[in-house]
């Protein structure tokens, strides 16, 4: 078996829960984790006689997404009913968009491992309602149905089959995830199912034009699982074909415990969904003025922000990319730069190395960092005005992390103010020279390497508080033969 003979074709369908307070067609809450069926109102439950009315914010969020991926936002889009019977689908149909989706023909540029970019087409994105959940193992021979999630607004984002490897798929997904979180339309929580992915995978002999038969692996809920599920499917499909078999077009389910996919029995018979326009809902019209209004509320997008960070702050591309990975982190960084008066690169180093390193250890998000942006800015300011040295600053940072207060409080409490009084520094230098006559003689005899030894000793003598520039200068003078 040789993968080199096969080309992989992948298209992804991402279901992204929109961050509205209420359902797409009713005023029931959408909070995660509520008691079963306590957020299922008459519309969610599909009671006889009830009717849907579209949530304003869900539509705005869909339009926002369309603008962010440079897509066409449909002036007129239509909700349709997609029919199938399943206990987590209360009405026997899902309200979705079929022929006329709200967003069409967009794209997202991803970066490949070799540093080049690749454009992935976004065929369409449409609004629809989420289904409920089945609880399988609690009751003998029965399943329990919780419809709290039913009716939560979803944006289903469908890519073109432009993706050629699991790595590209993950890169696309991460980019998309970053984007929807940036836009504030999705919380991006994959564990809670706010951002779910179905993977359409097929293989074909290299050089063949026609696509191979594809399978769809449902609801893969982490980047790592997406990679594994796709890898498994690729191997499986190649093996089936090379051993003379045929790929069956089917829906499959990924098992995270085994890393395998398996056919879904419930979807065995390809459904006839009988789509038709929902007669309870009228065409959704989004005018040019509506689009302009949404455009005016668009946040700066990751790429634009990264480019600006490079230009405005003179940061290396790497730093800019890290800092703009999350909108909250970028905001944090900008707050530190603008209020500390420090050098942007120094600020970037503090945020990337010290802050992110610490947060990573603590397992915390930027939003719950114990060191806030004003606190870090206060620290950088004290370095800039030479109150403390960069070295001492590391200790102050640790103290801030430990909750000992802001930089000024800690510096004062611990007496960490830098020594700039030259007579005090000279006194320390002279002490060190007196205590180390051997090293002094060697140095004066030409062993220049010992300069560092004297710096270390003198710093130690001042508990690290000596101004490094002054110490260096004075030490050179004193040590000279």
């Amino acid at each position: 078996m040789s993968n080199a003979n096969w080309e992989v074709v992948i298209g992804l369908e991402v279901h992204c829960q929109l961050m509205t307070k209420t359902k797409i067609f009713s005023g029931a809450a959408t909070a995660y984790g509520a008691e079963p069926n306590t957020q299922a109102d008459t519309v969610t439950l599909g009671f006889p006689g009830v009717l849907p009315v579209l949530n304003h914010d869900a539509l705005q969020m869909a339009v926002k997404f369309g603008l962010a991926v440079d897509a066409q936002v449909a002036e007129r889009s239509v909700f349709a009913r997609k029919h199938y019977f399943y206990p987590d689908l209360p009405k026997g149909y899902q309200i979705s968009q079929y022929e006329l989706p709200i967003v069409a023909n967009g794209h997202l540029d991803i970066e490949l491992a070799d540093g080049s970019t690749k454009r992935i087409g976004i065929t369409r994105a449409h609004m629809e309602e989420d289904a409920g959940k089945s609880v399988h193992d609690a009751y003998a021979g029965q399943s329990g149905i919780d419809l709290n999630r039913a009716g939560t607004p979803l944006l289903e984002i469908v890519s073109e089959p432009d993706i050629r490897s699991s790595a590209e798929a993950v890169s696309y997904l991460k980019k998309l995830h970053q984007l929807v979180v940036y836009l504030g339309i999705c919380d991006g929580n994959m564990q809670e199912g706010s951002f779910r992915c179905d993977c359409n995978v097929s293989v074909r002999p290299r050089g063949q034009k026609e696509f191979g038969t594809r399978t769809e692996t449902k609801n893969v809920n982490s980047f790592r699982y997406v990679e594994k599920a796709i890898e498994y499917e690729i191997e499986r499909q190649i093996e089936v074909i090379e051993s003379g078999g045929k790929i069956v077009q089917e829906t499959r389910l990924f098992n995270p415990d085994t890393g395998e996919t398996r056919s879904m029995r419930s979807k065995e018979n390809a459904n006839d969904y009988r789509y038709f326009p929902d007669p309870d809902l009228l065409p959704v019209v989004v005018t040019a003025a509506d689009v302009a209004r949404v455009r005016s509320t668009m946040p700066e997008l990751p790429e634009a922000k990264r480019n600006r960070f490079v230009e405005q702050y003179g940061l290396p591309k790497y730093d800019a990319t890290v800092l703009t990975g999350e909108a909250a982190l970028a905001d944090y960084y900008e707050a530190v730069v603008s209020t500390s008066g420090g050098d942007p690169k120094t600020c970037a180093n503090w945020v990337i190395t010290d802050l992110l390193g610490a947060l990573n250890k603590l397992g915390k998000e930027i939003g719950d960092s114990p060191v806030t942006a004003p606190m870090l800015a206060g620290l950088v300011a004290r370095i800039a005005d030479k109150t403390i040295s960069g070295k001492i600053a590391k200790d102050v940072f640790e103290a801030m992390l430990a909750g000992e207060g802001d930089a000024d409080t800690i510096i004062k409490a611990k007496g960490l103010v830098q020594i700039t009084d030259e007579s005090a520094i000279i006194k320390a230098i002279e002490d060190v020279m007196a205590k180390n006559p051997g090293q002094l003689a060697e140095y004066r005899a030409g062993k220049d390497k010992l300069f560092g030894f004297f710096v270390g000793q003198a710093m130690k003598a001042t508990q690290g508080k000596a101004n490094p520039d002054a110490l260096n200068r004075l030490l050179k003078e004193k040590l000279a033969p």
């Binding site: 008459t42 009671f47 006689g49 009717l51 009315v53 009405k91 026997g92 006839d272 009988r274 038709f276």
Partner: protein, 485 residues
């Protein structure tokens, strides 16, 4: 009391000639004694009715309330009513106690102060033209209890015609208000689509369904329709537009009114006796100053085929929610999930509902959508365009409501197509969404004949005015069936 008009009842209540409790008791007594012959009520809500009557009396005693306060009504059992079985005449919902009120229930009962006497029989899920598909048995026509009252609002018309309710709500998807009104000598109006909220009215075909009223005169109908109408934020298809005054313009002259007579409505298939009654009415309206023009609605012969694609398609979808999981009938025989669905739905729905679900499922299914559903939607536009053109020339369109008078129970039950052709004159108004009404215009062999008036969008006031003026100079609508006087 049961022969008084809505206006007279309102005046008597406000003058304290009798109380709402007395009036309500009077109707409850009549229901008890007379309804066994008719089967017009599925559920009689005597206790709630009397409690509501007492509340109305209290309002009236405080000098509050409106023109309808204290006047009881019957609700078609398609409208959800809190705490009361709302069955839609189906075994599927035989034990469905609604946890919420339809908007029109709120408007008529809570706001206008009308006590509800009970829930009225109908064809199952409003699918039928004879009220023979009800799980609770057929309704009989009070004019001849061996005959059908029409459908689907058969219980509504039988109750009002027999004096078992002063007025009743009804719904009309393809003629379900007008055809039964015609067959029982009542005045029934289906307003413009979007005029009355559909919220809480169990859906049959969403793009066609519209609630209205059946009453003993245009004036009675106008008052109740006025209270039912209006914008409802809970219904996306509700029209956000002020409601015209339907009552004040009733007195206007119809001198110069331009009436269109569509050729297609007077073609073969129309009974000669019915035709004679319509001709008589045309004569009366001429005397009132109306002018008549013949016109053509060339696509109207396609109304029935269009309807029998659109309505079943929407119905098959709307009825998918009845699966025995959250409410409604659940088969005791189901051994697995598939059986839960198939047996619950197989047992819960009667044959006519099953037939329509299958037709709808078929016409929407893969490979047939374009030929049936899409084509029907296109023809629907042609039918709509016919009316648009017609209303450039005329104010109202007049024709028969039904091809003939009430037929015998059981006469058409085995032949759905001949049953469907009952609605040949009424369906087009639903497809176009325009308002239409039926009013009494004579008798053939002792059985009532109705004529239909159709108007342009939101012209309910005009239709009711024409009907009222006609009823000022004719007495057909004042006749009551023997044994129910």
């Amino acid at each position: 009391m049961h022969t008084l008009s809505i206006k007279q009842l309102g005046e008597a209540l406000r003058a304290r000639k009798f109380s709402s409790r007395e009036l309500t008791q009077h109707y409850l007594k009549r229901i008890e004694t007379l309804d066994p012959q008719l089967n017009s009520y599925i559920t009689v809500t005597a206790d709630q009715a009397l409690a509501a009557a007492d509340a109305a009396d209290a309002r009236l005693a405080r000098g509050e309330g409106g023109p309808l306060t204290g006047i009881p009504l019957g609700q078609k059992d398609i409208f959800c009513t809190t705490g009361v079985r709302t069955s839609c005449a189906s075994r599927m919902l035989d034990r469905f106690i609604s946890p919420y009120d339809a908007t029109i229930v709120k408007k008529l009962q809570a706001e206008a102060g009308m006590p509800m006497l009970g829930k009225l029989n109908m064809d199952e899920f409003a699918m039928g033209s004879s009220n023979e598909t009800s799980w609770y048995g057929p309704v009989k026509n009070p004019w001849d209890v061996t005959r059908v009252p029409g459908g689907s609002s058969g219980g509504s018309v039988a109750a009002v015609a027999a004096g078992l309710a002063p007025v009743a709500t009804a719904t009309d998807t393809g003629g379900s208000i007008r055809q039964p009104a015609a067959l029982t000598n009542l005045t029934g109006i289906k307003p413009t689509y979007g005029r009355v909220s559909r919220y809480g009215m169990i859906a049959f075909a969403s793009s066609l369904d519209q609630a209205g009223v059946v009453a003993r005169s245009a004036e009675d109908a106008a008052q109740v329709l006025q209270a039912m109408s209006g914008f409802d934020p809970l219904d996306s298809t509700s029209m956000d537009r002020p409601v015209d005054d339907l009552v004040a313009p009733l007195g206007r002259s119809i001198q110069g009114l331009r009436v269109g007579l569509p050729r297609e409505y007077f073609a073969d298939g129309l009974d000669a006796g019915v035709r004679a009654c319509i001709d008589g009415a045309i004569g009366e309206l001429k005397k009132l100053g109306a002018t008549f023009t013949e016109l053509s609605l060339p696509n109207s012969p396609l109304s029935v085929p269009t309807y029998y694609v659109v309505a079943p398609a929407e119905a098959s979808s709307n009825l998918a929610r009845f699966d025995g999981v959250r409410y409604g009938h659940r088969s005791a025989q189901a051994k697995n999930l598939e059986e839960l669905y198939e047996k619950s739905r197989g047992e819960g729905f009667g044959p006519e509902v099953q037939r329509r679900i299958m037709i709808g499922t078929y016409v929407l299914s893969h490979g047939y959508y374009d030929a049936y559903y899409l084509q029907a939607q296109k023809v629907r536009r042609l039918i709509y365009d016919d009316f648009r053109r017609a209303f450039e020339q005329v104010d109202v369109i007049l024709g028969p409501t039904a091809t003939d008078v009430a037929f015998k129970l059981g006469a058409k039950t085995d032949d759905p197509v001949s049953m469907y052709l009952n609605d040949i004159y009424t369906i087009a108004a639903n497809l176009a969404g325009i308002p239409a009404m039926s009013l009494p215009c004579g008798f053939k062999d002792g059985l009532p004949v109705g004529m239909q008036l159709m108007g342009n969008f939101f012209d309910e006031a005009k239709l009711l005015n024409v009907a009222h003026q006609y009823q000022q100079v004719t007495g057909w609508h004042t006749q009551s069936p023997k044994g129910f006087e």
